[in-house]
């Protein structure tokens, strides 16, 4: 029979016996009872069970359980004063969690597209340079570009350490150079080719114009896209576009990117705050609840 009576029916019948149904629930159940014989029989059995349970006598304790000093020590435990901060800790944990979600969402919405754009910018710039490469190779002076793009370690060192003017120029040209030191020092990065020498700048700008008139149009298109998506590398890679990049850079994106480090710090801080305050609140609750 119990298989045909649903869990909700059982709950309603049980609450009905204890007078715990609302007027609406009571009315509904009574209507069902008047038409459902099975439900009535179940109610009868449930009532009988309840009466049997309630007919049970109290068990008499075999002895008194009074305590002695030996059993409990001198005084009740003194709770640490900071246990009163439990509600504040719970509140802090909740607020930190909410802020964390907001910051994380902001991070995803504001910074991730920029990062994606950065990847696209690099791809586009590299493609443009690859397209220009065979044409440049035809020009003997264009070899400087290849050398600049793939400099031997010794030359690389020389270009960085030996030409302080170029390095300074890189820093001055790079909008976000200070926030990306790793990229600046990586010898495998083509970005580093830019400050390798002033020769590269002049030759790279001149070679496509001289050799292949079609190349600049494609390269310019890719450069423009890369500037719009993530201008930092584009500016470093192709310094002659610096002014255009700076003009087209949205101020909000610039601000967000410049503060990307602080976003990370904020996220980590909120995670730690939520975790520590939450765990501390749980611990205090367990300590103070017998």
């Amino acid at each position: 029979m119990s298989n045909k009576i649903s869990k909700n029916d059982w709950e309603a019948l049980s609450a009905y016996l204890d007078g715990q149904l609302s007027a609406k629930e009571l009315d509904r159940l009574q209507k069902r009872l008047s038409t459902n014989a099975e439900l009535r029989e179940t109610l009868l059995e449930l009532r009988k069970t309840r009466q049997l349970m309630r007919s049970q006598p109290r068990v008499k304790p075999p002895r008194n359980f009074i305590l002695s000093r030996d059993m409990v020590g001198s005084r009740p435990e003194i709770l640490p004063g900071w246990f009163r901060f439990t509600p504040a800790l719970q509140f802090t944990s909740v607020i930190a969690s909410v802020l964390l979600v907001l910051v994380f969402m902001g991070d995803l919405l504001a910074l991730r597209p920029a990062s994606m754009g950065r990847t696209i910018a690099l791809d586009n710039a590299l493609q443009a340079m690859e397209m220009a490469e065979p044409l440049v190779e035809m020009d003997t002076e264009g070899m400087a570009i290849e050398e600049a793009l793939e400099p031997p370690p010794a030359m690389m060192e020389k270009s960085i350490l030996g030409t302080p003017g170029a390095a300074e120029k890189l820093e001055s040209e790079s909008v976000f150079g200070q926030t990306q030191p790793a990229e600046k020092t990586s010898p495998a990065s083509p970005i580093l080719a830019a400050p390798a020498g002033e020769e590269m700048e002049s030759e790279a700008a001149r070679a496509p114009d001289a050799v292949a008139p079609e190349a600049p149009a494609e390269a310019e298109l890719a450069q423009t896209q890369s500037i719009e998506a993530f201008p930092t590398e584009a500016v470093v890679m192709l310094p002659h576009l610096e002014s255009a990049a700076t003009e087209e850079l949205p101020w909000l994106e610039s601000l967000l990117l410049a503060n990307q480090y602080w976003w990370r710090v904020l996220e980590i801080f909120l995670v730690l705050l939520a975790l520590v305050s939450g765990l501390l609140a749980v611990y205090l609750r367990r300590v103070t609840t017998p």
Binding site: S2, K7, W10, E11, L13, S14, A15, Y16, L17, D18, G19, Q20, L44, E45, L46, R47, K48, T49, R50, Q51, L52, M53, R54, S55, Q56, P57, R58, V59, K60, P61, P62, R63, N64, F65, I66, L67, S68, R69, M71, V72, G73, S74, R75, P76, E77, I78, L79, F83, T288, T289, P290
Partner: protein, 202 residues
């Protein structure tokens, strides 16, 4: 002296005041432990441990129902013990004395106004119900004992287990359903007086 004053004194370390509270509540606490554990010695230990714990933690009592607070302590003590055992205590057909020998009629069950047959029937019912209680999950058993044996209302029971009333409602209905199914197997063995329980209004 009223309960509030006794609690305040106990919080200041007055053990005598606390012991007066012990005498007041030891029967209800012991009954909860007895029905939870299903046997006297374990209930005795749980009750004693609960009162010791209650005295030590009494400064964390922030008002409300002291009875519910005590029952929460003893119920948690029973949970701990049951978990520690990792097995259900076997239910003796008859209560055991200190020498682990069966007691036919425990002193608290003897009623001078009853015939020996009536007393035997009552004991039989007592053990049938305890056997069915022992088959319930711990959470359901605690609620069934609180509401149907101790006579707590839903709100008090919710305070004891630290859950909302909806949880009490749900657990109680499921406990009653399982108890009904279990007691059906005892139905023919039950005393006729209990088989013919009058159907009163709720």
């Amino acid at each position: 002296m009223d309960e509030k004053a006794l609690i305040s004194e106990a919080q200041r370390g007055e053990l005598d005041s606390f012991n007066r509270l012990v005498l007041e509540y030891q029967e209800i606490v012991y009954n909860q432990a007895y029905r939870m554990m299903g046997e006297g010695p374990a209930a005795d230990d749980a009750t004693q441990d609960a009162f010791i714990s209650a005295y030590r933690k009494i400064r964390s009592f922030r008002g409300g129902s002291f009875r519910a607070w005590l029952l929460r302590i003893v119920t948690n003590a029973c949970y701990d013990e049951l978990r520690r055992r990792q097995r259900r205590p076997t239910t003796a057909l008859e209560p055991l004395d200190n020498n682990d020998e069966e007691i036919e009629s425990p002193h608290w069950m003897v009623d001078p106004n009853e015939s020996p047959e009536q007393t035997a029937e009552r004991i039989e019912l007592f053990h049938a119900i305890q056997a069915c209680l022992d088959e319930l999950p711990d959470d359901f058993r605690a609620i069934a004992i609180l509401v149907d044996i101790q006579g707590f209302n839903y709100q008090e029971a919710a305070n004891v287990i630290g859950k909302p009333i909806g949880t009490v409602k749900s657990r109680l209905s499921r406990a009653r359903m399982q108890l009904r199914n279990c007691l059906q197997s005892f139905w023919e063995l039950l005393p006729s007086a209990f088989r013919l329980v009058n159907e009163g209004s709720p």
